[in-house]
């Protein structure tokens, strides 16, 4: 390898197993959150997405306490949160916001308790940081298969529901008049959202999962006027952010403070933010607001 390549890809980047796991899981999560996220942005449900990620944290902290895999904690709690939001009723946007807020508040209260117990009685001091901010490098290789399976399920739901979901997002009455079961389609979408957000929360952390869900999708919306293409563009942005983030985090072991490395979630989220800002400049130059 030339020196230039060596400077970018530090020794071991291509052979390190945690890097492989990080790239594999990160890619899956980026694709899923992109597909779901485009609908989240179009439907104005960013708050629900954020709330489900935080609820995932409640499940993740409970999983640490019970010594079960964090994946199941994140996923089950996020699903339960989505179900609770659906049951409380979301006929009007305002009601939807209230339902989300109420479920989120209750969940965060539990998370506070679980994280307290994790750190005081269970001696898992890292739990708080891991649950809230995640780390792609801390993922066990045994989670690749379940992550891929859950991700495939979420993606399948979105692709199956693509047309009825798109029309009911545009106008619920038009969809209903065409025989689309709007409520059922919405519930199916919430299921996919809960899965996507749980996976994102586990990998880059509950607090940052919204960035991966909303950022690439919002960026894609500025760059293309076509719904299907927006999903593709968002996926590419997400993948690029994850890969570049992993590379930078790996390289950062040699940055000051030496031998510590910067959190990978920081790089991923920063790259997503920068792409959003850049897309704004591109859109403005094209004369679109």
């Amino acid at each position: 390898m030339s020196d230039a390549v060596k400077a970018v890809f530090e020794t071991g980047f291509f052979t390190d197993q945690p890097v492989h796991v990080a790239l594999a899981v990160g890619t899956v999560v980026a694709v899923i959150t992109a597909a779901v996220g485009v609908f989240t942005v179009m439907r104005g449900q960013s708050f629900a997405g954020e709330a489900l990620g935080d609820l995932g944290a409640t499940g993740g902290s409970a999983a640490f306490l019970l010594d079960v895999g964090p994946l199941w904690g994140f996923t089950l709690m996020s699903l339960a949160g989505a179900a609770a939001m659906e049951l409380i009723g979301i006929e009007r946007p305002r009601g939807r916001d209230l339902a989300t807020g109420i479920v989120l508040g209750a969940g965060l209260g539990l998370a506070a308790l679980f994280l307290y117990l994790d750190t005081t009685y269970h001696n898992t001091t890292g739990a708080t940081i891991t649950v809230l901010f995640g780390s792609l490098f801390a993922i066990s290789s045994s989670t690749i298969v379940p992550v891929a399976a859950l991700g495939a399920a979420a993606l399948a739901i979105v692709l199956m529901l693509y047309r009825p979901l798109l029309l009911s997002t545009v106008n619920a009455d038009m969809a209903a008049a065409r025989g689309v079961p709007v409520r059922l389609v919405g519930a199916g979408y919430m299921l996919a959202l809960a899965l996507a957000v749980a996976l994102a929360a586990m990998t880059i952390g509950a607090i940052l999962s919204t960035a991966l869900l909303i950022g690439p999708a919002a960026t894609a919306l500025r760059l293309t006027a076509r719904p299907g293409r927006a999903m593709l563009v968002a996926a590419l942005i997400g993948i690029a952010a994850v890969w570049l983030g992993v590379l930078l985090a790996y390289d950062s072991y040699y940055w000051p403070p030496a031998q510590h490395g910067w959190p990978v979630s920081f790089f991923v989220v920063t790259l997503i933010f920068l792409s959003y800002v850049a897309s704004g400049l591109v859109a403005r130059r094209r004369g679109r607001s």
């Binding site: 179009m42 047309r163 008049a177 065409r178 025989g179 006027a225």
Partner: protein, 290 residues
């Protein structure tokens, strides 16, 4: 159908002639204790252009929702092409009243029309030349080709109406329902939409039921008017329905119908309370009120 107000379903045997594309038979709707519609009956023949006229709150939207199957009536039934309507009825196309889309929604006019083909199907649509061709033809039919690739949310009200009409028509319905499509349009755009609709009705042999609170924009195009007031309906030609005696009976108190420069004005009669204020069909600014 005669121009009498609010009669129960006709008991006069089987109707002769072609089956109406739409029969509304004795529809009543109560919402939270309020009688919104009271024994509304009328029929629309294939290819007819019908105006559903009434003031805000007269029950136009509720009636359209009943016809679409989005609202269960408390009494009565709706027949589409002679059959009880089912929820998923490809014979009916629908253009909703409230249509708001953010300008940054990634949805081109072309995409919205394409969604009209098979939006209730699962899975991703396969790209097909026939489908593209059909969408292009439909956009052309509503004169929307020039902005086919613009985001729907960035279009003007009149342009959006045309795209929505194309979306509703691409499934080849035999009845097109439009809920107040002229409400937020300027006079010129409204005239264009009406002209477009009446042309399409004849070309594609689609019956149109269009709700409006202002009758005059539709006068030249209508074959039939269904006039809603106080939850009740009168149906017939404009001459049969928009008359002092018929509308007085419908409103439950005296009204006059005036013709001014080819425009129709419905005015509360002398000595009446002014609770008709919201009920006039037209009141050009500055026109003296009775």
């Amino acid at each position: 159908m005669s121009g009498t107000a609010a009669t129960p379903p006709t008991a006069a045997g089987a109707p002769a002639g072609p089956t109406p594309i739409l029969s509304v038979e004795g529809i009543s709707v109560q919402l939270s204790g309020r009688q919104i519609l009271d024994q509304v009956s009328f029929a629309i023949e294939p290819g007819e252009f019908t105006g559903l006229i009434g003031s805000n709150g007269a029950g136009k939207t509720t009636l359209l929702r009943v016809i679409l199957g989005l609202q269960e009536p408390s009494a009565g039934r709706v027949l589409v092409a002679g059959r009880p309507r089912s929820r998923r009825n490809p014979l009916i196309g629908y253009v909703p009243q409230k249509f708001q889309l953010d300008p940054d929604m990634p949805l081109r006019a072309r995409d919205l029309v394409s969604l009209g083909v098979d939006s209730n199907k699962l899975g991703i649509p396969r790209p097909s030349r026939a489908r593209k061709q059909l969408v292009a033809e439909m956009l052309d039919a509503v004169d929307a080709s020039s902005f086919a690739d613009a985001r729907v949310g960035t279009l003007s009200g009149g342009e959006q109406q045309r795209v929505l009409i194309a979306h509703a028509l691409i499934g080849r319905p035999r009845l097109l329902l439009l809920d107040e499509p002229l409400a937020n349009l300027d006079l010129r755009s409204a005239g264009e939409v009406v002209a477009l609709l009446s042309g399409i009705v004849k070309r594609l042999e689609v019956a149109v039921l269009i709700s409006a609170h202002e009758i005059n924009a539709l006068l030249g195009a209508m074959d039939r008017v269904v006039y809603l007031a106080a939850g009740r309906a009168a149906s017939g030609t404009t001459e049969e329905v928009v008359r002092a005696d018929v509308l007085s009976k419908l409103y439950g108190h005296h009204v006059d119908v005036l013709r001014v420069h080819g425009r129709l004005l419905v005015v509360a009669g002398a000595g009446e309370d002014s609770d008709l204020a919201g009920h006039e069909v037209a009141f050009p600014a500055g026109e003296p009120r009775a």
